[in-house]
Symmetry: C2
Subunit: 788 residues, 2 copies
């Protein structure tokens, strides 16, 4: 056990250390400290107040975006309580009605966006491939290559350009950021309307440009952005607002909406409504309850209905040349689906391969992303240049590799056209003579979804040569790794599924003779193994694959595979989304505290000086306190009673509420305790809706205030806006238990109160940053080893 002396020693050492997060905060505070102490008239009082602190906005990691924590606590201050009590039944009904209407709208909007996205990709990529195909047929190979490279370059760089210049947050998958948001971390502009715009069009450009990336991750992000946009009642900046949707001015309701949005995104991307719900549950959400399951389910059902209707409409031929396909939906029903014991051995092998290669994928991706982040930091032009390079590399590989395999004669007894002229189908002619086809070209010179369909589809026992599959697997695995970090919205599902499917077919071809399974089923199993190995999702991947292939008989095999591959991969590293969350420096709270946290008490980890205010505080002091720190919560303490010398802890006041109070200017000349009547009058001066949480980035800023020197000397009563019932822990509470409290209740601030009387009533505030393992291990370098 760390006894008290040892702890104190550690703390002393820890304070002096450069810790990766606290460093920036502490420094900025230290710079400001002198000015403030000079600027204030009560240095003695302030010194006591500044005795301990912890910061809520911090600049972390390589992305240098401000990160804001979300607060799921019910703020119970007099102003909001009064408003809440005055709500009548009609308003409560309106609230419930709006909740469901929003779920409906999110479902409809995400469904439509998912459909249009798909339609655009199918048409753009289709025309591109048709052009190349026609040029190849007339043997103009160089022109074909130039056409392909040119199209890809234009599409890719334009996607990168809008992404780099308009919304850098739209790059990448978006799932890690959504996951972090649902955990309580709002990265800057991650759900902004511009991000939504760039995510949709960037994704269309990126997928059409033939990159080895998918639209599934971006669809999840798109769904979350749509939910955020609708939940905030539109965007005030772009004059898109609906007054009747402005019921959701708190983080709890927004979190629920964004959960629905993420589920809708998966449902739209895979046409898998149940899979969408499970994805939101397993991977995205950190808090969950039965009522939310029900609402999420409603949203994804709406997505399914919209997609069905729109695809039905497109079947009538209104959707351009290539609009018939719809979203990925692979039919494996024609294949034999009985399996025997020898097949289990193959499944075991596939599971091990999937787990190992999946873990390797995560490892390599992490390294590559770290290299890329250095390049990306150099600015937009270098981002675009890198995208262009990867685009050119992809084109070169797609065009050069098919020359390496030999042409295959078309099978005799097939109903399909061979070679396929145009876009889809298993039989691409490429450079082959008549009556022959190039099977690698069928995979590489196709949209990724068609490649998956080809690999999964039944009735193609001998369609792919082993060499083809091998080359394709290597190409997909490497391109997938190189592509993810570029400044284009890029999903990880498709590259992983493609790599898994080709790997599965390889294993199936090599070992298939010992069992009865079809190579197409091996492709499905391989995808499951790779998804389990990289993303570490289980139930949702299982259900998504079931919904994609419409076959339940494979369920036990898929479950077994996922179990094996996930277990093996878990021995090496974390899931790919968790890895990206960590790499981006987002302070994600895990559901279980680290073991060593039981050896520390909260008193050990409170850091920095604490800024507190009096119940009736001087305006100047508040303003200075706000300027001095980036804190978002300040304890309010009523002055010490001269007789008992015990100060009274009133509660916690939020930065946004302080700013609003200063803006309202209900100041007074003296700092005497107000009468009951004057308190009630004061309460009437405040409008509750001003104190509701504004959308991200829309809150009042300190620069918006206009306070003259005279007002600086006046006093303001903070009692009406102080949350009188913050959650508190004693300083002797173990960090592990405090972390549970913060995580389970979704708190932003937690007040640490002293165990023994005689100290100030609050000795510190803890936020999620204080619980980050990096932070704690930075301060107590030996804490991890102490345990064993």
């Amino acid at each position: 056990m760390v006894d008290v002396e040892e702890k104190k020693m550690h703390m002393g050492v820890g304070r002096g250390m450069a810790d990766p997060e606290g460093g920036i905060r502490d420094r900025s505070f230290m710079e400001g400290e002198d000015n403030i102490v000079d600027g204030l008239r009560e240095p003695l009082l302030l010194k006591r107040r500044l005795s301990n602190t912890s910061s809520q906005i911090a600049v972390i990691g390589a992305n240098t975006c401000p990160i804001e924590s979300l607060d799921y606590e019910t703020i119970e201050n007099d102003v909001l309580n009064q408003d809440w009590r005055s709500r009548n039944r009609i308003q409560i009904f309106q609230y419930v009605f709006c909740k469901w209407t929003l779920a409906l709208l999110i479902g409809l909007a995400t469904g439509v966006v998912g459909f249009l996205n798909n339609l655009a990709v199918e048409n753009i990529a289709g025309f591109k491939l048709l052009l190349v195909s026609n040029l190849m047929l007339s043997d103009r190979y160089y022109q074909a290559f130039l056409a392909l490279a040119g199209c890809n370059l234009v599409l890719g760089t334009s996607a990168a350009a809008i992404c780099a210049y308009i919304a850098p947050a739209a790059a990448g998958s978006g799932i890690p950021e959504v996951k972090a948001y649902l955990n309580g971390v709002d990265a800057h502009s991650i759900l902004a309307p511009t991000t939504l715009f760039v995510k949709i069009f960037g994704s269309i450009g990126g997928v059409s440009a033939g990159f080895m990336l998918g639209k599934e991750g971006p669809m999840v992000h798109t769904g979350a952005c749509i939910a955020n946009l609708l939940g905030q009642g539109g965007s005030r900046k772009y004059h898109l607002t609906w007054r009747w949707l402005r019921f959701f001015k708190n983080d709890r309701d927004r979190r629920d909406l964004i959960t629905c949005g993420a589920a809708a995104g998966v449902a739209a991307a895979f046409r898998a409504p149940v899979g969408g719900v499970l994805f939101a549950l397993e991977e995205a959400a950190s808090w969950w309850r039965s009522a939310l399951l029900w609402r999420t389910f409603f949203t994804t059902a709406m997505v399914a209905v919209v997609l069905r209707a729109l695809i039905g409409y497109c079947r009538s031929g209104y959707c351009g040349l290539f609009g018939e396909g719809g979203l990925i939906m692979f039919d494996v029903s024609k294949m034999v689906t009985t399996y025997s014991t020898p097949d289990l051995i193959v499944v075991l092998v596939l599971g091990i391969i999937g787990g190992l290669l999946g873990a390797l994928y995560n490892f390599l991706l992490d390294r590559i992303l770290r290299v890329y982040s250095v390049i990306n930091e150099k600015g937009a032009p270098s981002k675009i240049l890198m995208t262009a390079t990867i685009s050119f590399l992809t084109t070169c590989l797609a065009f050069s590799l098919p020359w390496m395999v030999r042409c295959k004669p078309c099978p005799a007894n097939i109903t399909e056209e061979c070679p396929t002229i145009g876009r889809s189908g298993n039989f691409k002619s490429f450079q082959c003579p008549e009556g022959h086809y190039n099977d690698l070209a069928s995979l590489l010179l196709n949209t990724n979804e068609d490649a998956i369909r080809n690999l999964f589809s039944g009735g193609t026992e001998s369609d792919f040569q082993l060499s083809t599959l091998f080359i394709f697997f290597i190409a997909v695995y490497c391109l997938g790794l190189l592509t993810y970090g570029i400044a284009v919205p890029s999903g990880l599902f498709i590259p992983v599924i493609l790599a898994g499917a080709s790997c599965g077919r390889i294993v199936g071809t090599l070992m298939g003779s010992i069992g009865d399974l079809h190579p197409g089923l091996f492709a499905l199993l391989g995808s499951a193994a790779f998804l389990g190995g990289t993303m570490r999702m289980t139930v949702s991947v299982c259900v998504i694959l079931l919904e994609l292939t419409n076959d339940l008989i494979m369920l036990p095999l898929v479950m077994l595979l996922l179990l094996i591959s996930k277990t093996i991969a878990d021995c090496f590293n974390k899931g790919v989304y968790d890895q990206i969350v960590t790499m981006k420096g987002l302070p994600y709270m895990e559901s279980h505290p680290e073991p060593y946290m039981r050896n520390l008490v909260t008193g050990d980890i409170i850091s920095g000086p604490l800024v507190t205010f009096s119940g009736i505080e001087k305006v100047g002091t508040i303003l200075h306190g706000l300027k001095l720190t980036g804190h978002n919560g300040f304890p309010v303490i009523d002055e010490a009673d001269p007789f008992t010398d015990s100060a009274d802890f009133v509660g916690l006041v939020l930065r946004s509420h302080l700013l609003m109070v200063l803006k309202c200017k209900n100041f007074r000349r003296d700092n005497t305790v107000p009468t009951m009547a004057s308190s009630e009058n004061l309460l009437r001066e405040y409008v509750a809706s001003d104190f509701e949480k504004a959308g991200s980035g829309k809150g009042l800023k300190i620069e918006d205030l206009n306070i003259n020197d005279d007002e600086m000397e006046m006093y303001v009563d903070l009692h009406p806006v102080t949350n009188k019932t913050p959650y508190t822990v004693m300083e002797t509470m173990s960090v592990a238990k405090a972390a549970m409290l913060l995580r389970e209740l979704g708190l932003r601030h937690m007040c640490v109160v002293p165990k023994t009387p005689g100290k100030p009533p609050v000795i510190g505030i803890l936020t999620r940053h204080d619980f980050m393992p990096e932070h704690i291990c930075g301060r107590f370098p030996n804490i991890e080893n102490l345990h064993n």
Copy 2:
């Protein structure tokens, strides 16, 4: 708002009131008070200590079973902390290994039990029906009736007898109790080995006896019992123990295991592994995290593998006459599965009917159960008599109703035998002449699962007359309601699915002409509508139905139906399981607090006198305190410092730990503060494993202690066993926020601390009972109306 004066007034009134829960507790306390005050030498001190209380064991509702709360808090006392710190890597690995081994074992055991259960039912019911069928064929109608009635009576009453005499807790579905357990309420012997035994054999008897009940609910309960048995390392009472499984001596780990068990039960009952996971998640569990999802999934995958293997074995003909069927699995794949807009109208109608009739079902069930509970309270013989009555009624209906419909000629072009001689099949001869069959007999004189299969199955457009369906629907609906309350393990799924399927077929027959859907699909949709209307589950029902029918095309229709029926039914009452939980008086904590709880503060709802102990307390005082109350947690307060007059709140000590301390007898003669060295010596005297939570009903009892008069006068140091970091709330915290804390962290006790100094350091303890709406509304009768 309730202001302070009004609250005080209410509290005064509340105290005097007879409240349904507190009543019993308060009375028992009041009776004891005088003796104690006489028996103790410090009446003055005690008076202060007894100033406030709340009870943790209470006798509630009609079932008069003791209910114990579970505690998911990490107990951090010196003894357990010391043990925890001494754990090495090998022990941590053992723990993880055991966790997964247990999940595996639960899966295997539940799979095997589910299979054997099914096999037994198929064989017993099969032989019974074969006997009746043969007697009917030789026109011996009376003998046939007597044989059927006799078999049913013997099977039914023996099931009721073992249930009534051995384990009354095994009656009913068991899902409400499992749900309550996972919420933190342990009803007496609900997961005991005897309950498991009776649940398995009672369920076999009940289902074979032809009652209108299913084995699905009992399977969930069985799975939970198996998980509990394995998690406790076997049963000490029956000498079934495994030492290496004794790692799970806390409520958190047990809760996880039982969640796995419940999921395994559903998976085994429906052969739906994903549905099982979702059921556990949506309906059963109150707490959830991603890691648990993964473990639950593993368990259900094991169930699926075991079932597959056993059914494969049975296909070879080793399982008796009727062992080929396996679990319910309906194949609708032969039917047309396109649907058009007119079908949506039928779906809408079905949804409305399902919602209305589902809500009515819940309402009637509640009334009937209340009547039955009066009968059941009269003792085992009356339970058996009631079961016999219902059995006779069921037999009469099953035998008499088929006479009401006219015989149908066998269809010409079918591959099946008609009329079917033997057990299964759509065509029962009953009283009909050769070449004809009785379609109602095919439904009624069959196992319930075969009836469902008949209703769902494709290719039977004209198999059921409208009159048949109508009679069957009425019979099923009424019998289902009458049967559930009898003293036999009885599931609700099957009656609801049957009623829904027949209702769906009726609607399909009446309105089917406007769309293209097949009557068999209408049966499926009808079942979904009824399940949504009674159980109010959405995603899990959806997935279970998908897994049963192996068809994903119907998914959007099923989702839509569930949405409609659940929404409509939610307007009238709660889901059937929630209703039963409420009726049984189990203190279930909802995930969201009631709105009026925001108008109360925790100081208002603390009730009864509080019993506290000193850090170094007299043995006699502890013993009296334990005898005096049923409390399970006692605050420990160090005596007031003579100079500052402020007592120090040490923490909370559990009843079980106090009993163990008294048993260990590390007593001392004086009550001076011990030195550091003597404290450490004392710590070595205690064995940590003694302080781990024993299995339900196995803990040390006050009667087990043997303390003589001399020892009564001695002192014992409670510091080593006191949980020094209980979660605390201030007395000004709103009840709503305190309820969130209790619910989200799964606490058993929550200490209420005063806001202002000068009061005792703890002014009360809150438990889940204090947050029950009945309790609060009993004390503040107008609180609900106050809001609006």
